[in-house]
Amino acid sequence: MRNHRQSEPDRLRRDARIAGLRDFQTPSLEAVEQRRRQLWQRTATALALIAAVVVAFAIIPSNRLADAGTGRVLFAIVGVGGGLFLWAFHKETALERLTRSLTDERVLTAALTNRLHEVSLLLDAGKQMNAHLQMDELLDTILRSACELLDATGGSVMLVEGTDLVTVCALGRDAAVGQRMRLGEGVAGYVAIRRDPVLIDGHADPDLFPGLVLREPYVDSAMSVPLVHRAELQGVLNVNAPIGRSFTEYDLRALAVFAEQAALAIANARLYEAERAHVAALLDLRKRREAG
């Protein structure tokens, strides 16, 4: 019975041994491919030799070889050929298993590397955002970092003011700054109400997004994510893809993770602004009292 509890490295080593990769220390698909080529070259050469011998037997007049037991010799040669083919097939099966296992390992390694890269980018963006407490600088950093992270050409940050969303920072369409829309209107309003990230590919559906206003220049692909901190909606972050490129669900997830940090930074900046205003009011009061 096959040992089903055999670990992955053990299985790899066993397959490598069967396949003839005896010095198998560092797994590599290239080594497996090389061994495969080598195996079939040798097998093809050996089979060609056997075929040549068989043909030679066929060409030589049978009466000269009759006494030598031609039939038995031919049978043995063909048997050796068949055995050789089975041996090569057995090795090929092990090589196939190795290829699959090594491809899987490569996929896992790549996934880990990608995740590390993504986390590293988000960490850098978080550091940059947390270095600012002035709202204007912070919003600019948020938007630029988001565009850099996703190779976007432009976008905007909208903050909640009462029952409106106000565009407070924009990249690629400066005229948008200061524009207001009601919560629930258009794509950003939908995102604000639902608190759900949205990926737009092609024309947005006006039925899905009531109050949608199509703006120039037309954007092929865009994403909007809510900026929520401690269940409180701070605003909405929008980014636009360059012409000819479409954002994917993967990009949407990255932006949503980024938005969590951005929302925290905005909440901190608002707190800082409120504290500064409070201190200024106290100082003003003290001045008046001293003057009076």
Binding site: R100, T103, D104, V107, L108, A110, A111, L112, N114, R115, T248, E249, Y250, L252, R253
Partner: protein
């Protein structure tokens, strides 16, 4: 010698933790998992290794799960695809159905239900009539086929 063919299931998923967890559980359930961390690799492995089923995450780098499904649908590839997505809105369900996916599982999914759905898809077990236990995707998603 009797050839023992385990059903091969391609896991197309970019999250390394999920990849490892699914691989371990699928092996334990008697499947032979294959991995793909992005859409391109998924399409390559589907074309070259013809898996018996595909667990397709929607959020994949490069080309995403929807694009993979669209390409398979356009080619008329008969491989059964189970969509794994964090979203459960009706538009996504409809899109998955239109593109020929056989089931739609919503993350975070129960691993037993995922195995159950995969088993049904590859035909390991006869899918009986809907019982009190329900079909494979009742709690975490929707059977589309």
């Amino acid at each position: 010698m009797v050839a023992h063919h385990k059903p091969r299931v391609l896991i197309a998923e970019d999250d390394p933790d999920t990849l490892v967890i699914l691989r371990i559980n699928l092996i334990a359930a008697g499947f032979e998992p294959m991995l793909a961390g992005d859409g391109h690799t998924a399409l390559e492995r589907i074309a070259s290794e013809s898996p018996d089923a595909v667990l397709l995450d929607v959020m994949l780098p490069g080309i995403d799960g929807w694009q993979v499904l669209e390409q398979l649908h356009a080619k008329g590839d008969p491989v059964p695809v189970i969509i794994c997505s964090g979203k459960d809105n009706i538009l996504d369900l409809q899109r998955a159905r239109d593109l020929g996916a056989v089931a739609y599982l919503v993350k975070p999914f129960d691993i037993d239900r995922l195995i159950e759905a995969t088993s049904e898809v590859v035909g390991l077990r006869q899918a009986g009539p809907a019982t009190e236990q329900g079909t494979a995707a009742d709690a975490d998603g929707v059977e589309l086929a």
